[in-house]
């Protein structure tokens, strides 16, 4: 949660699938790969657990960017969860874009348990994008941003 009188630092929420991406994040950690501390990871059982409401609520509570990470298509622990997630997120992101909310604030990446490097790179590049976009102003809840 940001408080207005402090200088802005991006807040990134990453929903990570338990079986691939979360393990990928773990691997990034054990391999001492750097990625910004601004990324807050929320572990989910599968990328398809991510309800569009989760994304919007993350923005409400002060997130500047939200990324969903899951197993590579075809590798879902539950066979097809990430295929559903793919459609859902595509439609949601398209709707957010339609409402004039910056496209770059949302992203989906497939990161496997072996891709610690990719996880760190993905987070670095996502944070970079968010920093260039600046503070989330279009999907914010002012009540959560004032003292």
């Amino acid at each position: 949660m940001q408080v207005r009188n402090e200088p802005w630092k991006p807040l990134i929420v990453a929903f990570c699938c338990n079986w691939c991406s979360y393990a990928g994040a773990d691997l990034a950690g054990t391999n001492r790969l750097n990625y910004p501390a601004d990324v807050k990871i929320i572990r989910v059982p599968c990328s398809c657990r991510v309800n569009p409401l989760f994304i919007l609520r993350a923005f409400q509570r002060g997130a500047d960017g939200v990324i969903v990470c899951g197993c590579h298509p075809g590798d879902c622990h539950y066979t097809s969860g990430n295929y559903y997630a793919r459609r859902r997120m595509t439609l949601l992101f398209s709707m957010l874009d339609y409402l004039g909310i910056e496209k770059g604030r949302t992203r989906v990446e497939w990161v496997s348990a072996a891709e610690g490097q990719k996880f760190a790179e993905t987070m670095n590049s996502f944070v970079e994008t968010i920093v260039s976009l600046g503070e989330n102003k279009r999907l914010e809840d002012l009540r959560c941003k004032t003292e």
Binding site: Y84, R87, S94, G100, L133
Partner: protein, 327 residues
């Protein structure tokens, strides 16, 4: 057509096919018609109405009505029949408990648009050859072209085809209608993001959260809406922040995506004239473009694009590269 409908309803009541009739009831004026259930021939004679203003989609009422004992006669317009078909696919209505007479619809008028013409003190409206003759207290008569005051849903009608019925009042079915219903969506997509954002703020900031769009929507048939559930964390009754206006409408449109038949009731009932159909049509347009043409309620197909997938679906990143400009 009203007389033929009453006559047919009376026959079906008399021969025991049905024990009651779902229709529209006369009001104080020509336009304030109310969906109603009729039990007797007398009631039908006295109050049953079918005119340029009987726009209300009665399909949603059939969720409750088909759970009651007996069989109900429902007159369904083409757009209503899509909603009903979709509700059948979702197992929300009991098809056996309803006898459907499909009726043609040549477009319904929007009283708000008549008022917007600046006509006040209306004492009477009559229909004549597809036109409306509006008489005022100052004894002026205005001839209004019905096409000019069509409801949005009629102006961009997608189909005159009745997709589910036991009989057709006219004996023959209508056909799909070429339409431009996605043009306005495309127009918004083509705006620069700042303009799009300003456009939607202007529209959604008018929301008073009366829930009319939700409660009238045949696809919004949850027993308890997430926005009414205090335990959901997103329950709210009034938009206390811009965010809540966005949240409600995005989630509502999303939740009916794939099930919305584009019946246009949400925009018809919005007291604040928010073009809610533009949100639903955006989803429909996206699904058509990305996952192949799909019309909810048209067939028996139960799995719609949001509850389905293909291995080679586009990656979400397509949103970054496709349509619109901006960041």
């Amino acid at each position: 057509m009203q007389d033929r409908m009453i006559a047919r309803a009376k026959e079906l009541l008399e021969n025991g096919t049905v024990d009651r009739v779902m229709g529209w009831k006369k009001g104080e004026f020509i336009y304030d018609v109310t969906p109603a259930v009729f039990y007797t021939a007398d009631e039908l004679e006295k109050d049953f109405v079918m005119n340029a203003f009987t726009a209300a989609n009665v399909s949603k009422y059939l969720i409750a009505e088909t759970k009651k004992p007996g069989r109900i006669l429902a007159f369904l317009k083409p757009c209503d029949s899509y909603s009903f078909r979709q509700l059948m696919n979702e197992h929300r209505v009991d098809r056996d408990n309803v006898y459907i007479v499909g009726i043609p619809s040549w477009g319904k008028a929007d009283m708000e648009k008549i008022r917007a013409l600046g006509i006040t003190g209306i004492t009477d409206i009559t229909e004549k050859d597809g036109d409306l003759l509006v008489t005022t207290v100052m004894r002026e008569t205005h001839a209004v072209k019905k096409y000019d005051v069509y409801l949005e849903k009629c102006k961009n009608c997608k189909s005159k085809r009745i997709v589910v019925y036991d009989e057709l009042l006219d004996g023959e079915n209508g056909e799909d209608v070429p339409n431009n219903r996605f043009d306005e969506v495309a127009k918004i997509e083509a705006m620069p993001p700042d303009e799009r954002f300003a456009f939607w703020r202007g529209e959604l900031s008018r929301c008073i959260r009366c829930n009319a769009c939700r409660n009238v929507c045949p696809a919004c048939s949850c027993e308890k809406c997430v926005f009414d559930n205090p335990k959901s964390g997103v329950e709210n009754k009034a938009p206390a922040d811009d965010f809540e206006e966005n949240l409600f409408h995005i989630i509502r449109a999303y939740h009916v995506a794939g099930r919305c038949t584009d019946c246009g009731e949400c925009s018809r009932v919005c007291p604040q004239h928010i073009p809610l159909h533009l949100l639903n049509r955006k989803f429909i347009k996206d699904m058509n473009e990305l996952y192949g043409d799909y019309q909810a309620g048209e067939t028996e197909q139960v799995r719609h694009p949001v509850t389905n997938y293909r291995d080679d679906d586009a990656e979400p990143g397509i949103v970054y590269t496709r349509g619109g400009s901006g960041r």
